[in-house]
Symmetry: C2
Subunit: 491 residues, 2 copies
């Protein structure tokens, strides 16, 4: 093989890193904190994009594109936003290089200093709301439902492929509404879109909730989120949807004339998911042999591998395999027939296992005689012999089963890793020895939240949307609490 | 209306600017030289992307993503490249802002200076070939056929929406090959893909050719291009495909072991088209009333407008129109039914004319009685009454006719604007009084090329690929020439 992957038990973090690199998803680049997304990884991201983009369009949104650069002064306009975003960022100060005097190199031309520095967008609320000022005059211009697919930059000090990188790819929705109610409805609608995508496409069950004030997006009134659980018992925030109130409308003076002819500030939302989802996908399902991809996001859903000794056998098997390939493709299944003579079947088996291809079909001379194929599932590693009759339908059903199984497995794992803690000792014990989500009472103060984080490294992931009121006492302070909140250590 | 557009005759340049803004394609942003691509403009760009992306994949390419930032030192590695690209660029020098002492603003934190400045990519050869060094060891790793969809930045001093902007969107293909022949073949293949896209999708006829040394891409051995003619008689370079030889392989030390076990430098190509194509699309076909979009790239192919006096009439017409809409959509035609009661039919007619919607269907009470609709073509402005029987097939045929007509009209215009000049006087006379492409003899020197440009503002667009040898004398110097080259004033 030569592609040894650290086991999850030995070192989960190294396992993740090994997998991302050895399965050809991404790698670190020459630029600190920036990754190269390799073709196989990008093909998965494209499938995510296509599915999400359709969901956005089906809910009435259009795509547009706004500048990469944000004038420094724009950040100063929304007080909370600046604190959250303008600090760790890439700053463009000059627009020209020149040759060095010795002629051997290039250097920044001091004469080409920008009057105002430009920030590489860490998120685009400011530049977009500055634009919306000219787009919105009347209630007839609302709602304005726009999404952007873009790269953004946040100068993270500690980076990890997909999970936290200085540059990442994402989509950011930015909508404008006539009323608070409508904006809140939009915020929740897009949270539901994200949850549906995570569960139906990625096979990752998520908990929908609302962030505490401390974890809120810088500039938001409320931040909603979906939280997923990884196999190491750590949570991962997979998407956020923000109700921004009138904060950005006020900062950028965006008003509309309502039906009564009165000028009002516009209500806003923003929502985003990023290439971080790739990290979630890898960590939620994969095993010590490689990726486990849900069929709906797998660039190759079925691989067919011929097992032969002679060229004559290969010729016969190729006909057989290509017929199967064609019938599967007619059902919209993506199939690769790997007839390379440079690699042995065993090598290929391991390679597609590593790459997470959901179904492997092996065909040998005996299959030809018996009109059979050997079908192996990546998720359970079960192998069975199938008659070729109606193989396309059988494989389609199998892919659906695998999609469901991957989700159910993750759901069971999460259910079995979700706890209640009623004392601080119990809380710490669960975090240290079991991991997972912990529902516990909290007194509602940021002070307590931060103290718990300091003591345990666990954060409040969210107050779940389906939360039921329950009287109790804060696990740290013993002060009264009216509901449990969801804690976990998190990525 | 309120959306007056300058006529082409009055001021072609203002006509273009008016059209781009008033048809909601794009606008200037708060950041110098950067545009906002509005939803309607972006929808056209998405259609371009989809068509091109499919063509790239059908020719064996995969997408990937490389960093936005390029370390300054990377540019120093390829001598010609640095001259062409590293000068006018956005330079990131710092990675943090801080509050000003008075607490009222933010400023660059001088302690957060990067050790090495980062350049926002103006094109990605350097960062990509630095990456390819690790991806390519053996001939088995070749060819490597990769494309990237990305934003790039070139600090242009004079910008125009879509045609020349500081930030623009594009795709850049970067391929690696074992032999020069194969790399040249790839260069030519992608040029053909671009030409096919321009002609079949955009309806813009193009001339394929090779650039002179002076117009070559910085770092290329040969640059191939497609050149289109705009309605004002100026040429526009619509796409380029470069044979890079071993220049970048040598600069970044990318070698492979060939079948004979010998180490060789890899051969390279790169090729790109950008949002500049949007400018070409607008300028090639549109008229004084607005955009004229080829059906294959029109976000809305058919608009249906009800003409009514009473609510009862509208209800009946809506049923009628929605049936038509459904039958057209079943054939894959994108249809908008505009039943807004806030605007009059005349306003809507003008609006969709401005937006370039290829086919307008108007339905009124008399149509209901007669089972007819009124069909208007955007390209010729012809109106006819159609029986609704098989309307879907008739409209599909009409859309194909419009696509062809738009192309043929542009082709006729180009043919009628293509000249031969045999003296410098004749050359200048054509440029000043007729415009268009001029085939003329040139002595082959950069000196003459630059002198002609200085005297006439015309440049050599290319040496056409189907050029026939022909003895003649350079129009400027009278020195011997073996072929005519293609001149024009250009965007």
């Amino acid at each position: 093989m030569g592609k040894e992957i650290t086991s999850r038990a030995a070192n989960y973090s190294e396992w993740y890193q090994d997998l991302v690199i050895k399965a050809d998803l991404a790698e670190n680049s020459a630029v600190r904190g920036c990754m190269v997304i390799k073709p196989y990884g990008y093909a998965i991201w494209e499938k995510m994009q296509q599915a999400l983009d359709k969901m956005f369009k089906d809910t009435g949104h259009s795509n547009a594109y706004f500048p990469l650069f944000i004038p420094k002064s724009f950040f100063a306009k929304e007080a909370a936003h600046i604190e959250g975003f303008a600090k760790e960022c890439a700053v463009v100060t000059h627009y020209r290089l020149r040759n060095t005097k010795d002629g051997k190199g290039i250097e920044v031309d001091p004469d080409a200093k920008l009057e105002e520095e430009l920030i590489i967008r860490p998120t685009s609320e400011t530049i977009i709301w500055n634009t919306y000022r000219n787009w919105i005059q009347s209630y007839r211009d609302l709602p304005l439902l726009i999404n952007q697919w873009a790269n953004v930059v946040r100068w993270e000090m500690r980076t990890r492929l997909f999970l936290r990188t200085a540059e990442f790819l994402w989509q950011e929705g930015h909508t404008a509404h006539a009323t608070a109610e409508e904006a809140v409805e939009e915020t929740r609608k897009m949270l539901d879109v994200y949850a549906e995508f995570a569960e139906k496409w990625m096979g990752v069950p998520v908990i929908k909730g609302i962030k505490t004030a401390n974890e809120r997006f810088a500039g938001a009134v409320d931040t909603f989120c979906i939280e997923a659980l990884m196999q190491d018992g750590k949570a991962l925030q997979a998407g956020t949807s923000h109700f921004l109130g009138q904060n950005f409308a006020k900062a950028f003076d965006v008003k509309f004339t309502n039906k009564q002819g009165v000028q009002e500030y516009v209500w806003a939302t923003s929502w985003g998911v990023s290439t971080r989802l790739m990290g979630a996908l890898v960590m939620a399902h994969s095993d010590d042999d490689g990726l486990v991809l849900p069929p709906k996001l797998a660039p190759i859903q079925v691989v067919i591998i011929p097992i032969y000794k002679t060229d004559e056998q290969l010729a016969l098997l190729s006909d057989y395999a290509l017929n199967i390939k064609k019938s599967l493709e007619n059902r919209g299944i993506s199939v690769k027939f790997d007839n390379r003579d440079t690699h042995k079947p065993g090598w290929k088996f391991a390679e597609y296992e590593l790459k997470g291809v959901p179904v492997r079909i092996a065909v040998g001379p005996r299959d030809l005689e018996n009109n059979t194929v050997e079908v192996a599932r990546r998720d359970t590693k079960e192998k069975s012999s199938y008659q070729v009759t109606d193989l396309d339908i059988k494989i389609e059903n199998l892919l659906n089963q695998i999609q469901d199984n991957i989700y159910n497995k993750a759901l069971n794992f999460r259910d079995n890793s979700t706890w209640k803690a009623d004392s601080f000792e119990e809380f710490v014990d669960i975090l240290d020895n079991k991991g997972g989500f912990v529902y516990a009472h909290w007194d509602g103060t940021t002070e307590t939240e931060l103290k718990i984080k300091e003591l345990t490294k666990a954060t409040i992931r969210c107050i779940t949307l389906d939360n039921k009121p329950e009287d109790g006492k804060c696990i740290l302070t013993g002060n009264p609490s009216s509901q449990r909140v969801l804690f976990a250590r998190a990525y």
